[in-house]
């Protein structure tokens, strides 16, 4: 049971980690779909 709960906790950590890493590495859709000639937001 402990191994299962640890694994589920690991899923949460890895998931949040992955989202943070990808966002910071510039892989958000907004960044991928824009260039210097495209202005998104304000």
């Amino acid at each position: 049971m402990k191994a299962m709960l640890t694994a589920f906790a690991a899923i949460i950590v890895l998931t949040i980690g992955a989202s943070q890493v990808l966002d910071r590495a510039g892989f958000s859709s907004a960044e991928q779909g824009s260039s210097s000639s495209v202005r998104l937001g304000d």
């Binding site: 299962m4 694994a7 890895l14 998931t15 989202s19 824009s34 260039s35 000639s37």
Partner: protein, 404 residues
Amino acid sequence: MNRFVLAFAVLFAFMMQAFAQDTAAPSADVDRSATGGAQTLEDILKRQRGEKVDYDFRRNATGDPDSAASMSSQLGTLGGASDPELWRALRYGSADVTVSSGGQVASVLMQDGGMRWLLFRQGPLATYGGYLLLGTLGFLALFYLLRGRIRIDGEKTGRTITRFKAVERFGHWLLAGSFILLGITGLITLFGRMALIPLIGHDAFAPIAQASKWIHNNVSWAFMIALVMVFVMWVVHNIPNKTDLKWIAVGGGLLKKGVHPPAKKFNFGQKMIFWSVIVLGASISASGISLLFPFEYPMFAATFNVLNSTGLPQLIGFGELPTQLAPHEEMQYAQLWHSIVAFLMMAIILAHIYIGSVGMEGAYDAMGSGEVELQWAKEHHGLWVAEVEAAEKDREAKNAVPAE
């Protein structure tokens, strides 16, 4: 295993059929003078009958700058191509489009093949995928009614044996937990429009869809890590061997009470689950990465090229698979393949969950506490128990040797 390969081939075949290119015989002899070169009633009827229409007459009617009227005459500013001709060029991808951002991908303003993808995704994919899952659940329910719970036949000993170490159970649950999350959010993505919006409305579905996408995209990494873990830990125990033949000969003892074929750490049924998960898991990860980083890792043109060179698609009547794919087509194939593999995996895993929980007494402990009832282990993994006991005796004997 062969069964899965076959099922795979058949599914792939269905997919290809839906995507077969229009390869009707040239219709140069069709007289379209009555419509001034546009489609005729016969073309429309043919399409409605589901027959193939050769659209070259339309594809190539994109105007001719060389015969353009001079700038001073009527419509001269269009440069030899009328608006309909320009739209046709855009539709069939022959227009000269320049974009300031987004590269080659953004230069595709209209993608005809997208309709085939959309219809396949909403139609056969969702329908047969849904039937597969419901059919599997129905089959398992029927199996339960007919066979009941597979009980431990012999007298319980009250003693246990360690079946899976903590790290093995961790790897399993990392894979299982992420798979279930990916499965549920994937189904929400595919069936949301069809099943959830009519039920809860657009406003309620929007945040669910958004959350599903976020979970699906980000949980994928845990799944891939776990897949590698599980492969490394268990591949040695999953190499098929002669013992498996005995297991197959009696159907694993699943159908009859008191039948227990010999098995090592994993029996043939488990080996099938293992290899299905590894092969399908690797394939779904590859197409998943392709989808996660759109247009960065196209893989279908290359795959089709390899398949063409084996002669297999030609052999089963699909002819040469297309090896020139628009970036969007690559994504569409990746999406379909991702879903097809996902449905297969979900069906297999439903059976795995069944036999590991309600379907068999004592099976869950292997992944719960890791300690299984000795009698259960002897009945289902007799050779493995003998191995473990022999190793233990060896160790004891060594420890018993007095130090000199």
